[in-house]
Structures are given as structure tokens and as C-alpha cells.
């Protein structure tokens, strides 16, 4: 197996993992956050954790399928259209644009920033789509809480991914006769 094939397969495996995580995050968002946190605005937006954390640590490309499927899961469970959910998740992806020019550790710091601002944009767009107006003072506090939770979770995910991704990175075997290996 040559280097290019190895890298492609490796990226594909990570993209699959991101997709599973994204769908899981959407299901968890629907099933769990209402139990743990009473105020919807104060709850972390878990799909954004995946987009921000994964996108910052490993690039947006691997998290695209996760973004789309998470939006569809939320959309079929909601009266709101899946397109609105996807649109509301886009600002987080846009905020990751500077990651391409940053060093590895700087990218990790970008994850919580993108997640926190992404939550504000997400809630803002979703409220706009539902025809709701400005937030009250209480709701602003709740939103701040939700953004903080999301940012913290995104940072943790980004750090775990950066560490795990580095340890598991694909390297071509030293012995050309040997099959390719993850650990070497």
C-alpha cells in the first residue's frame, strides 16, 4: 500500500468516526439534554461540539458528513426544517476557516472559540427561523451558559482528537514487504 492510499483510507476511517459521533451527538441532544438541563438555551449544542472540535483538530472535511446527518436527525425530530438546522451550523464551520493557517496548538484554542460563537449564531438563526425576537436578560444568561458548556466540550474533543490522531497516524511500513501498520 502506498502512502497516498494509506492516508486516504486513514482519513476515511476518521470521517466515519466523526459521522458516527455527529449522529450520536444529535441523538444525545434530543434525548438527554432535556433531562440534564431544564432550560433549552442553557444546554450545550452537542453537534456543534463535534463540528468545532473535529474541524479544528483534524479539518472540516472529515466532519462534513457528521454536520449534514446531525442536521437531518434534528430536522426530522423537529417541526423546523432540516435545512435551517444545517444553515444554523454553518457559522461554526466558517469560524474554523482560520484553522488552516494556524499551528496545531493554536488550532486547539480555536475550537472552543468557534464553538461558543457558533452556539450564539446557531441559536440566533434558529430563533430567526421561528420568528422569535431578541433574548431577555435571563435568556442571555442561559445562552452564555450553553455557549460555555459547548466550548468546554469542544476543547476536550479537540485535545483528545489531536492526541489520538497523532498517536494513530498512518506511517508507511519500514519494511516494504510488510503490510501497513498503524503503530510502528
Amino acid at each position: 500500500m502506498n502512502v497516498v492510499t494509506g492516508i486516504v483510507l486513514f482519513r476515511l476511517a476518521f470521517a466515519c468516526a466523526a459521522t458516527l459521533l455527529g449522529v450520536g451527538a444529535a441523538l444525545l441532544q434530543l434525548g438527554s439534554t432535556p433531562i440534564w438541563i431544564e432550560q433549552p438555551l442553557a444546554a450545550p449544542v452537542l453537534p456543534l461540539v463535534v463540528i468545532a472540535g473535529w474541524g479544528a483538530a483534524r479539518g472540516l472535511g472529515e466532519a462534513v458528513a457528521a454536520t449534514v446527518l446531525a442536521a437531518i436527525v434534528l430536522g426530522v425530530a423537529s417541526e423546523e426544517r432540516a435545512g435551517w438546522f444545517l444553515l444554523a451550523m454553518l457559522p461554526t464551520a466558517v469560524l474554523l476557516l482560520p484553522a488552516t493557517a494556524l499551528r496545531r496548538w493554536e488550532r486547539l484554542l480555536l475550537a472552543p472559540v468557534a464553538a461558543a460563537l457558533g452556539v450564539v449564531a446557531f441559536q440566533g438563526l434558529m430563533r430567526f427561523s421561528s420568528g422569535l425576537g431578541a433574548l431577555s436578560a435571563d435568556q442571555q444568561n442561559q445562552l452564555f451558559e450553553g455557549a460555555t458548556w459547548t466550548a468546554a466540550a469542544a476543547l476536550v474533543l479537540a485535545v483528545v482528537l489531536a492526541a489520538g490522531g497523532w498517536a494513530l497516524r498512518w506511517r508507511p511500513a519500514i519494511d516494504p514487504e510488510a503490510p501497513w501498520r498503524l503503530f510502528e
Binding site: 434525548g31 454553518l90 488552516t100
Partner: protein, 277 residues
């Protein structure tokens, strides 16, 4: 190169979002959503059960079972007493009125009910909608009243699938039902808004005060009359309008709904309607 790749993915996502929004009006979209909902619902249910177990374990340590059943029993008792209390007061007030109006507002018998579990809450911030695990095959129909703890009205069935139904809670901005203030008999509309429940069209001269109970009205349409809906918490008559600005607090806790009752067939003595705005 990396920037271009990132930009490509952003444009792809934007295009897809646009396509999903445009396609949502297509003929097969509703069917697709219904099928998707059927696939997703059991998965969400599993996630809910896992989260509930973790939450219980974290909150109560080793006494989960004991405390949960005690709590449920106490909640039920409180709810029953609240409902009984309100019904008694209601029957005293209505005793002096015409027999048909008393029957409509009394709500001694709400009719046939169907218990349903709450599967999920709508994740969109502007929607106060829940999904229940009963649908058309169980006799659920659009417009039926849904009760929470203490037989208080929490919302109306807004759409029905074969095995699931959506319930628009009273606090949803698109919700509006006919209501009556118990003490003054003022006929009003109870509507949802982003700040909670409000009473619309209550004349400024009517002596409505904080603590008054708000109930469903049977004067219009198909809702049973006399169902508890909320409690007046704030009355503002300072404006120049003909109507007072009245805030109402729901009697049921909407955030923690787990089981509800759907009135599948209201008692014959009551009639009324609730509509979406």
C-alpha cells in the same frame, strides 16, 4: 490549498442547506420526515433512558428506586389535590349558573383519555412542541386536548402520524385557545409567547387579579370546558389599550413532562375549540 478545500466544503454545505430548505416543500418531503422520525425515535428513546439512569444515579446515589417512587407518589398526590381543589371551587361558582354552562365549565368528567409517553421535545428554540408515543392507530386526532399532571391542560395535538403525534404546548408562540378566568368569568384567549403565557382580550375594567385561575372555555368549539390551564401572575392596566396585559403561569411543569393524557373523546356535556394562531 487548505483554505480552498475548507471553502469548498463550506460552499457544499451552504448549497445542501439551500437544497434541503427548498426541498422541504416538495411532495415527498413530509413522507421522508415521517419515515426518518420512525427510525430516529427509538434511538432517541434509548438515549433518553440512558441519560435518565445516569441522571438518577448521579442525583440520588444508591437510593434511586426508593426516592423515585416516593417522589412520583408525592407529585401525584399534590397534582390530584390541586385538581380536586380547583374542581371544588369551580363547582361552587358554577352552581348558581345555568345547568348547561355548569356542565360545560365543571369538568367533573373530561371524557375518555389515553395515557402517552413523551418521546422528545422539539429541539428548535422557537418551538414548544413535544412528540408523544401514541398516534392515529391509538385514536389520537388533531385538535385533541392533552393533559399534564393534575389534569391541567398542557396543549393540543397539532399533527398526527400513525404511531406518534406532536403536541403544541400552550407556551408555544403559535398556540391560542379559548379561556375563561375563573373568578370573573371573563372570556379571553390564552396565547403562547416567547415570555410565557398571556391572556388576550381581557377588558381593562374586569377585576382580574394575581392568583386567579385560568381555565378552558367551552363557549367556542371542541375543547372541554373547565380544564385548568394556568394561574394569573401579573396584571398590567397601565397602558392606553382597551385590554389589560396579563401574564399567566402554567400549572404544569413543561420542562419535565414524561407522561401525558390525551382526551380522545370529551364528555358530552362539554364542547369548545382550540386553534393554532
Amino acid at each position: 490549498m487548505a483554505v480552498l478545500r475548507h471553502a469548498f466544503w463550506l460552499i457544499a454545505l451552504l448549497t445542501l442547506a439551500g437544497a434541503l430548505l427548498a426541498g422541504s416543500r416538495a411532495q415527498g418531503a413530509a413522507q421522508f420526515e415521517e419515515r426518518g422520525g420512525l427510525i430516529v425515535a427509538p434511538l432517541i428513546e434509548s438515549a433518553t433512558n440512558i441519560a435518565r439512569s445516569i441522571s438518577d444515579a448521579a442525583q440520588h446515589g444508591g437510593r434511586v428506586q426508593e426516592l423515585s417512587s416516593e417522589n412520583a407518589a408525592l407529585r401525584q398526590q399534590i397534582a390530584r389535590l390541586e385538581g380536586e381543589n380547583a374542581r371544588l371551587r369551580e363547582s361552587v361558582i358554577t352552581s348558581g349558573q345555568l345547568a348547561d354552562l355548569r356542565a360545560a365549565a365543571g369538568a367533573e368528567d373530561v371524557g375518555s383519555t389515553l395515557a402517552a409517553g413523551v418521546v422528545l421535545r422539539d429541539p428548535a428554540p422557537g418551538r414548544d412542541v413535544i412528540v408523544i408515543d401514541r398516534g392515529a392507530r391509538d385514536g389520537v386526532r388533531k385538535g385533541q386536548a392533552v393533559l399534564g399532571s393534575g389534569a391541567t391542560l398542557i396543549g393540543l395535538v397539532s399533527s398526527v402520524q400513525d404511531q406518534r403525534a406532536r403536541v403544541r404546548l400552550l407556551s408555544d408562540p403559535q398556540s391560542a385557545i379559548a379561556a375563561v378566568v375563573q373568578s370573573t368569568r371573563t372570556q379571553t384567549a390564552l396565547t403562547g409567547s416567547r415570555d410565557g403565557l398571556r391572556l388576550e382580550f381581557a377588558p381593562i375594567a374586569d377585576p382580574i387579579s394575581e392568583g386567579d385561575l385560568v381555565m378552558t372555555s367551552a363557549l367556542i368549539g371542541g375543547l372541554p370546558g373547565g380544564l385548568l390551564a394556568g394561574l394569573v401572575t401579573e396584571v398590567d392596566r397601565s397602558g392606553q389599550d382597551l385590554f389589560a396585559d396579563i401574564k399567566v403561569e402554567p400549572l404544569a411543569t413543561y420542562e419535565r413532562l414524561e407522561h401525558v393524557l390525551v382526551i380522545t373523546e370529551p364528555s358530552r356535556t362539554a364542547s369548545g375549540t382550540g386553534t393554532d394562531k
